[in-house]
Amino acid sequence: MALSWYLVVSALIFCIGAAGVIVRRNPLVILLCLELMLNAANLALIAFSRMWGGMDGQIFALVVMVVAACEVTVGLGLIVAVFRRRLPIDVDELRELQG
């Protein structure tokens, strides 16, 4: 199969993820969408890696997964903390850093 198919899928997933991050207000969903964006990037990396026949892209994808795991841990921790304080689970309401 041609490389472009993989890239098209990757771009689609990325766009869906980005749109979700911007549109949705539930932080859980935003985290999921972030995950989508990261995995879209992983897909592209692995596709390119196959095309060149090297392993660099795959190693890169592995690293991205590690980072994604960390990010999810922190993000979920934040959400739990927000929930414990009985604050609204809505990123639009959490705007105390307003200038």
């Binding site: 991050v21 911007i22 990123v91 639009d92």
Partner: protein, 671 residues
């Protein structure tokens, strides 16, 4: 060891003493610190003797040795090195400084023993001697300036040693500020000279000056020498930069002895003697020095007549004697001036020490008005004071007689208008005898004061509440104030030893250079001054003989007058005061130099400061610079704050758009 190694050791010991006392003050008790400090200076003296002996083994034309530890900077026009110059002049000064300082340290061990902060005191004292030695050994202008400034800083520390005493701290600040004026003069003078010689080293500077480096720039040389004189005047307390010296009496008495006898005030004399090749090429500057020295010796003498604080009388006497020395070295009588520097160091240190002993007996009070009749109670102090007084007023065969007469005879030999200085010098000698013996008669003769009476019965006076002798404010005896004990020489062997040695030196110190008999000082210093154009300046035999007789007569006449006023006819002093009311007011007001300087410099500076504060500081600095900057930042942040909505999704969208923008840019660029 080589001569220069000895010289470096002379520097090393006081520095080591400073560091040990300064860093280890918590471990060291008072006695330990005193012993270490005295030992350090004693060893420095021993090394100075070593340098002296080893210098003598060199041939007469090879007695100018330079040694450099390392170079700071060597570029075109500047050669900054840590170098010392060991020649007869610096060895002579080092001997006087370390010798007298050793005795003063020994005296301090007893005198300051009950003072809290003893280790600090000795650390400062050692630092002072170290600074003075740096100044003396300095082989180039750079090190000279360093030593010069160190001495000023050390004097500040010591004058305001009793730092909780307001008068002492003010006196320290005054001394420091006036000394900085001198430092500025010295530095600027150095620049004037450096500009045309391109070297900081003394010997090469002198060589260049003799070689005609300033033939086309004579004005620069005169200006440079005048600026050097400003430095010398400030350090040596010459008019009009002398006002710090009497105030410096606020420091402990041994400090007064150190500053006013052995070290600091002689720095100006040393500077002029050291720079004699420059001054001989700039006779105008040298003449200024001679005239100012002469004016100082007269004015200080007259003020000494009217002071009632015993230490201030001696302080003005120091000014007056330094005036003689400045006059001598400026007029080309180098050996005579330096000879007087040595004898003065002996008898003036002795007088200060004896005065310290009386002040101890008076429980800290320094007023001559309260003193009287200490002769029986303190025979040793009395003896020392009389020896010092005889030497100071120039009675043969005491040391001051020979040195002062040599100065005046040599100045007289210059002829021309120097004859006026010669005559005024003898007027000054008469004043010296009067004020010295006024002090002695008032303190030791007459009706014994209560303290003296008590002391005769074996009780040392002790104030119930310690007070500041100058203002009468109540004090305690904790750190920052004088300690609880008062010490007199009769009961402190260390003080007795120090004073005894100095008394002997003050008596016989003049015999090293007796007219028609010997001239060891001149001979020893000859290699330094061999190139001087005044080297053959010799008073005629008749002038010397006339001077010796005249000096004796004048000294005895002064003593007789003092005896007549203050002993033979008690109460006649008041009659004299009323008869010469205007003159007395002038003398007692110290010729109003303090007021004049205040009016000329302090007040205009303060007014200008207030004006600048009102206009420049408030409007330009605060208004335009500070408020302007904060205003710009405030307005800028006001504008940027609008972006900070706190909406997470908004930030994410911005980020995404930014990313897309970057990608698009690269796509466009790549295609």
């Amino acid at each position: 060891m080589t001569t220069t190694t000895w010289a470096w050791l002379v520097l090393a010991f006081p520095l080591a003493g400073t560091l040990v006392n300064g860093l280890g003050y918590r471990r060291l008790g008072g006695r330990g610190a005193g012993a270490i400090a005295t030992l350090a200076i004693g060893l420095a003296f021993a090394c100075a003797v070593g340098a002296f002996l080893s210098l003598q083994s060199h041939g007469a034309s090879h007695r100018q040795l330079v040694s450099s530890l390392w170079d700071y900077a060597l570029t075109a026009g500047v050669d900054a090195k840590l170098s010392i110059l060991v020649d007869p002049l610096s060895v002579y000064l080092a001997l006087v400084v370390t010798g007298v300082s050793t005795l003063i340290h020994l005296y301090s061990v007893a005198y300051m023993r009950s003072d809290r902060g003893n280790a600090r005191y000795f650390a400062y004292l050692n630092f002072f001697v170290f600074s003075m030695l740096v100044l003396v050994w300095a082989g180039n202008f750079l090190l000279l300036i360093v030593g010069w400034a160190f001495v000023g800083a050390a004097s500040y520390l010591l004058i305001s040693f009793w730092y909780r005493r307001g008068t002492a701290t003010r006196a320290g600040i005054k001394a420091f500020v006036i000394n900085v004026v001198g430092d500025v003069g010295l530095v600027l003078g150095t620049f004037f000279i450096l500009r045309h010689t391109g070297t900081l080293d003394f010997l090469s500077t002198f060589k260049q000056v003799d070689g005609g480096a300033f033939d086309a720039h004579h004005g620069a040389l005169v200006a440079g020498c005048l600026l050097l004189l400003v430095g010398a005047f400030a350090k040596s307390a010459q008019i009009p930069l002398h006002t710090w010296l009497p105030d410096a009496m606020e420091g402990p008495t041994p400090v007064s002895a150190l500053i006013h006898a052995a070290t600091m005030v002689t720095a100006g004399v040393y500077l002029i003697a050291r720079m004699h090749p420059l001054f001989e090429h700039a006779p105008a500057a040298a003449d200024v020095g001679a005239i100012v020295g002469c004016a100082t010796l007269l004015i200080a003498g007259t003020i000494g007549l009217a002071m009632t604080d015993i230490k201030r009388v001696i302080a003005y006497s120091t000014m007056s004697q330094i005036g003689y020395m400045i006059m001598a070295v400026s007029a080309g009588a180098y050996a005579a001036g330096l000879f007087h520097l040595m004898t003065h160091a002996f008898f003036k240190a002795l007088l200060f020490m004896a005065a310290g002993s009386i002040i101890g007996a008076m429980a800290g009070n320094q007023s001559l008005d309260r003193m009287g009749g200490f002769r029986k109670a303190m025979p040793f102090t009395f003896g020392c004071f009389v020896v010092g007084g005889l030497a100071l007023s120039g009675v043969p065969p005491f040391s001051g007689f020979f040195s002062k007469d040599e100065i005046l005879a040599t100045v007289g030999a210059r002829g021309g208008w120097f004859d006026a200085l010669y005559v005024l010098g003898y007027v000054g000698a008469f004043l010296t005898a009067v004020y010295t013996w006024r002090m002695i008669f008032r303190a030791f003769l007459g009706e014994p004061c209560p303290e003296a009476r008590e002391l005769e019965h074996g009780h040392l006076a002790h104030a119930d509440v310690p007070t500041n002798p100058a203002t009468g404010e109540e004090e305690d005896t904790d750190v920052g104030f004088p300690g609880p004990e008062h010490v007199i020489a009769e009961r402190a062997p260390q003080m007795k030893v120090a004073m005894g040695v100095l008394a002997v030196l003050a008596t016989v110190g003049g015999f090293v250079q007796v007219p028609f008999v010997d001239d060891y000082v001149t001979k020893f210093l000859d290699p330094t001054f061999a190139d001087s154009k005044y080297v053959h300046l010799q008073p005629s035999d008749s002038l010397i003989t006339f001077g010796l007789v005249l000096g004796t007569v004048i000294a005895l006449a002064g003593i007789a007058l003092a005896h007549r006023i203050w002993v033979a006819r008690p109460g006649s002093a008041a009659a004299w005061r009323t008869r010469f009311g205007a003159a007395y007011a002038l003398f007692a007001g110290k010729w109003f130099f303090d007021e004049a300087l205040d009016l000329l410099f302090v007040r205009p500076a303060a007014a200008f400061g207030a004006f600048a504060q009102r206009t420049f500081e408030r409007v330009v600095v605060e208004g335009a610079l500070v408020d302007g900057t904060t205003g710009v930042v405030r307005a800028g942040s006001q504008a940027v704050r609008a972006i900070q909505t706190g909406l997470l999704r908004y930030y994410a969208a911005l980020l995404l758009m930014g990313g897309v923008g970057v990608v698009l840019y690269f796509l466009v660029v790549a295609s």
